[in-house]
């Protein structure tokens, strides 16, 4: 059994001056190196959960907290200010909220300086993320002068540069076109495989998320209503569709085949898997037809 890195216990949070809790009685355990996909409609509490894991809640927000949130075995409220943020990096869905510097390069360097890294190390990491997220042409530009998609990439790079043990990405690709979106997920795949970071991604675009996620979490109205290993998670298709989660076409197709009795319970998570499975299925069907 791998190390538990995050443990959320009977946790509820209600923002001040609101009539309903944003999160209710959440229980969630995340192991080191896990890649978790968090999905759910807008307003279901996904961002509140992200803020709760890096101590922004209750640190920066007023409200009522019940239950506990442990990160590395310690309750988030027990951390000295700023300590938790060294190990938990958040890429916000609104990247402007996180910019403070006058150039993209300064923006990337800022976080590393704050962590007290040496200049050679900062230089090395700057080169690495610039390359990884393809930011070279933007380094000297002011963050407010670049496009929404470019801002999202800078925000991602700024967090990557610090390589926190836990990375939380809140809709990191909402403003990106399909190519840049794919590139971001390629970067995440690399981090997962080579660095064993624990990664939590909040996303509406499931096609890229599903092949990477070890586990999926569905939030609805502030409650965690489904959590499972990704292939098993999608066995609950009626619930997902009811909650307006629309899986990629190939996955939905195989779910329908499964319900109709044509296919087994192993749902394909990627296009490659779906192609192979469909070819096998048709081959077997044809063989059976010939035998009869």
């Amino acid at each position: 059994m791998s190390n538990v890195i995050i443990e959320v216990k009977n946790y509820s949070w209600q923002y001040i001056n609101t009539s309903e809790p944003a999160l209710r009685n959440i229980n969630l355990t995340i192991a080191e190196g896990d890649f978790i996909g968090v999905i759910g409609p807008n307003g279901s509490g996904k961002t509140t959960l992200a803020y709760s894991l890096d101590g922004l809640i209750p640190g920066q927000y007023n409200g009522i907290k019940q239950g506990e949130v442990f990160v590395f075995g310690k309750e988030v409220e027990q951390y000295a200010k700023g300590d938790l943020q060294r190990s938990v990096g958040v890429v916000f869905s609104d990247p402007e909220a996180q910019f403070t510097a006058m150039t993209v390069e300064d923006e990337l360097v800022f976080g590393m300086e704050n962590l007290g890294m040496s200049i050679p190390e900062i230089r090395e990491r700057l080169e690495w993320v610039t390359d990884l997220v393809n930011l070279k042409p933007l380094l000297m530009k002011p963050p407010y002068e670049i496009s929404g998609g470019q801002k999202q990439r800078v925000a991602l790079a700024a967090v990557l540069a610090m390589t926190p043990k836990i990375m939380i990405l809140d809709e990191p690709t909402s403003m990106l076109d399909p190519v840049s979106r794919k590139r971001v997920f390629e970067v995440l795949e690399k981090l997962k495989k080579e660095h064993r970071n624990t990664i939590i991604v909040i996303e509406h675009s499931l096609e890229n998320l599903i092949p990477l996620a070890d586990r999926m979490v569905l939030l609805s109205n502030g409650e965690l209503i489904l959590e499972d290993e990704t292939p098993r998670f999608f066995q609950n298709m009626p619930l997902l569709l009811e909650k307006s989660v629309y899986p990629p076409g190939a996955l939905l197709f195989f779910y329908e085949l499964m319900v109709a009795g044509y296919s087994n319970h192993q749902l394909p998570l990627t296009l490659d898997e779906a192609e192979k499975k469909l070819k096998d299925l048709i081959k077997n069907r044809t063989l059976q037809g010939e035998q009869q």
Partner: protein
């Protein structure tokens, strides 16, 4: 369709920004009443620039844009925006009044309609987008993104344009909100006869709603045709780094088994599966 006169004609359109950057090269197309079109392509491919040429916000550097018989070169913008409305990608770039009523009334007032007609138009537009009267006095910024987008669309509808261009209607919306906004545009198209153009990166949305697709790349039209036919053009799409919806790709990879490479939906795929090998 060929006997009908096009509502919009674009002839040899070139557009350069004032700094000299070439944004559109030799665009030719015709748009007919009642069409539902998707402009697709990477960021920077010219989709938004082309849209702004269609509503007269940008004047051609060379060539012509003719809308309802009027050449955009010598037609005042107030005449153009009554025919082609453009809804911004981010509603916040468009909304600037202190309450929803003034926001929706801005266009009709700008074309100098008398106040009683302005009132009629605002009420009509609000009704179409399903914006309750209770919101009329609200500041748009305190509404949800979905509602702000409705206000943005209502403010365009109040000008009663024949053609409505919506830039990235589903960005930042969850699945339910996306379908709601798209079903609403479909209703404008089918019931009220508006021509709808969406600019989007969401291929499943394109497959479900658009009947015609125009693919843009580096300021040019790379393909223009029926949705099914365009999604078959893997090479063209790859040129601009787009991919057809996942179910279409699956059908294309399994075409040798008898699946049609222009399959658009899961239902179509299931129907074919029933037939193949049974």
């Amino acid at each position: 369709m060929s006997e009908q006169k096009p509502y919009i004609e674009v002839k040899n359109l070139w557009y350069s920004y004032t700094d000299g950057t070439l944004a559109l090269s030799d665009i030719n197309m015709e748009i007919y009443n009642g069409e539902f079109i998707a402009f697709i392509g990477q960021n920077g491919s010219g989709k938004t620039t082309l849209s702004k040429c269609l509503n007269g916000l940008f004047k051609p550097t060379r060539g012509d844009v003719i809308v309802d018989g009027l050449n955009s070169k010598n037609t005042p913008i107030v005449q153009m925006v009554r025919r082609v409305g453009y809804v911004f990608q981010n509603p916040d770039h468009q909304l600037f009044n202190n309450n929803c009523w003034d926001e929706i009334a801005y266009g009709p007032r700008n074309i100098e309609l008398p106040e009683d007609q302005v009132k009629e138009r605002v009420e009509e537009a609000a009704k179409v987008v399903g914006l309750d009267e209770a919101y009329f006095g609200e500041h748009p910024f305190f509404l949800s993104k979905g509602l702000r987008q409705r206000v943005a669309i209502a403010s365009i509808l109040a000008l009663r344009p024949k053609v409505i261009i919506v830039d990235e209607p589903t960005t930042g919306q969850d699945a339910r909100q996306s379908l709601e906004i798209m079903d609403f545009l479909k209703r404008l198209n089918e019931e009220l006869g508006h021509t709808i153009i969406i600019i989007t990166h969401d291929m499943p949305i394109v497959a479900k709603y658009a009947r015609r697709v125009i693919v843009m790349g580096s300021g040019r039209i790379l393909a223009d045709g029926e949705t099914r036919d365009v999604f078959r053009m893997a090479d063209v799409l790859a040129q601009t780094y787009l991919e057809p919806p996942q179910i279409t790709q699956l059908a294309q990879r399994c075409a040798s088994l008898g699946f049609s490479p222009s399959t658009l939906t899961v239902e179509e795929m299931l129907e074919q599966f029933e037939k193949i090998g049974s």
